[in-house]
Symmetry: C2
Subunit: 403 residues, 2 copies
Amino acid sequence: MLIVKKFGGTSVANKERIYNVCRRCIEDYKKGNSIVVVLSAMGKMTDVLIEQAKDINPNPSRREMDMLLTTGEQTSVALAAMAFDALGVPAVSLNAFQVAMHTTSTYSNARLKRIDTERITHELDQKKIVIVTGFQGINKYGDYTTLGRGGSDTTAVALAAALKADACEIYTDVDGVYTADPRVVKNARKLDEITYDEMLDLATLGAGVLHNRSVELAKKYGVQLVVRSSLTNEEGTVVKEEVKVERMLISGVASDKNCAKISVIGLSDKPGAAFRLFDALAQANINVDMILQSVGRDGEQDIAFTVVGDYADDAMKVIEDSKKRIGYEKLSLETGVAKVSVVGAGMMSNPGVAAKMFECLYNSNINIKMISTSEIRVTVLIDEKEVDKAMNAAHEIFGLDEA
Amino acid sequence: MLIVKKFGGTSVANKERIYNVCRRCIEDYKKGNSIVVVLSAMGKMTDVLIEQAKDINPNPSRREMDMLLTTGEQTSVALAAMAFDALGVPAVSLNAFQVAMHTTSTYSNARLKRIDTERITHELDQKKIVIVTGFQGINKYGDYTTLGRGGSDTTAVALAAALKADACEIYTDVDGVYTADPRVVKNARKLDEITYDEMLDLATLGAGVLHNRSVELAKKYGVQLVVRSSLTNEEGTVVKEEVKVERMLISGVASDKNCAKISVIGLSDKPGAAFRLFDALAQANINVDMILQSVGRDGEQDIAFTVVGDYADDAMKVIEDSKKRIGYEKLSLETGVAKVSVVGAGMMSNPGVAAKMFECLYNSNINIKMISTSEIRVTVLIDEKEVDKAMNAAHEIFGLDEA
């Protein structure tokens, strides 16, 4: 078997943890498997490098930032190779140039395009454990790029796809994907299996275990993922295309508190006012999430939408600056709101989920500010203070508490 | 003009110094010159990385050590590019892969073989200052190598040769090459010019300003070097093929305290005993420096030689272990000895230098333990305690005190 294993920064934060990672890999290596390990930068190293950069130049170029940040993973893989060596197992570290990992040109947020497998395969043939830098690539100019948040997960999945690996294991500090955040919902249970689509919705909605780009990529190439703990030998959660038929209606409950709601009242009845509003935001690279549109009297519209909390002030400024072009009466910002979602592939064939969700929130006296649904997800925007109550209520009503 | 400028680790040890380096480069850039900057790792970063490696594995593989150490220069060049950017001057950082810097395969002590100039030339054509990682290269396996001690000087000289640069400036914490170490000889003077050969002897003998490999390379490709201070605007010392005719007999006095003398007494008269002695040392990678051979009664030989102090114990062990094969009566080690040399291209046409040197040491009551000479150098081995006295005496007798 060829297994790709990915360990994040926490798992390689110091000498002891690096040795722990190596021992985990050696267990499978000794069983006759070929092992490719993908590592992130150690602990807080990326943050330290960013700080160092900002101290030199508050607004560093992205190209040079990537040049700086890529030293982080290179440090991890070199040290891990030394640890494998000390444990008597042949290993070799490779960076993005050595592999090579071809990406798009965009610095700091590049996409993987193609991975050469020749060097890795050559090293695996020599019975070496191959340690690859996560998060980084090279573009057509021959420069380092980085893959943005969750980049090392993406590296691991892409490598598994390129090498046609039998498994791709993502090691984290939790032992799998849960029906809800165990810190919020006491009865949250670990899921044995989950579909790519469910995982995508949970990732996007802040479950935080896997980055959505890595899940998208896994889905695209049919790479079966396992999310498991780097600290225990628990089985973890398998992420794949289809899960067993007699599954739960709902797989999990997720929340996202980094939200803000912006209301544009009295949008003019000139054609394209809504277009000009969202176009102005798109030009400023601000993503809009939930959208609620209502037509009032005299054809005037009100539009409300949510944005990531960090971008709320930027979004307000953009809309104010474009007031003349867009044409509206009033603008208001509501912070202290949060999204709560129930996600489950089972709801595709069961239309009652949304109603059940609203009912349970009503019974808990929670006011719903906005609603958004997809085939496998129902999301509501509520007061941030009521998130924990809402999650527990939803977790219970959909039977996720039961073993 | 195309100028290659090399700054060592001390010159880029922190934010302020990095900015200082950038400003020095910008002065010449603003005059219309093309600038290539070679940087070492910041301050003690290489030492810190070595420590980190040894903590993981007391005997790390050289390949992985190079993989680790090369992050040092990459950090420097990325930060310097950010500083140039903040100062409003376009710049780009390049590592050994990006350049590319082709070396021999030997990890941790590779030799540069060939430098591709395409990328650098392309960036210079865009009016960018090009910042290159010193000390590192890539070998035929596509792996990082490092060039050993003084490697960044070598990178700078090789780049100057490959790019046919008009000047190669090596910035250090002293303002040039002196007739002697100013900390030892009060009247030491800075030299305006010195030949490659003189510099080679001074470098090898511990003047410590330039590494001998970079001087060898400069001589081979006729790259005119300037050694100057990164802190002042002083002219520095020019290192070139020939210097003005009416020059001093002697250019400088140098000392090297990291010495040990090993005496092998009563070497057997079997043929090849001396060969077997030095072969055993060569097998153990121990370089022998001065050699004194004396033939005693009955054809028995005594051989004394010096080695770098750090290798004295290793050398003793090698010779003891090979006692049977070599065949000798007694072995002794003398530490606390040092070499003092006078160097000068002028002595080629003036045979009296050695005699004058011995005379001045005799007058100073300094006992000479061993002597070694070359065309442009006279070296004596003396008691370490008398080094300062010897240097001052030689400095005076050869007229180096005079302005």
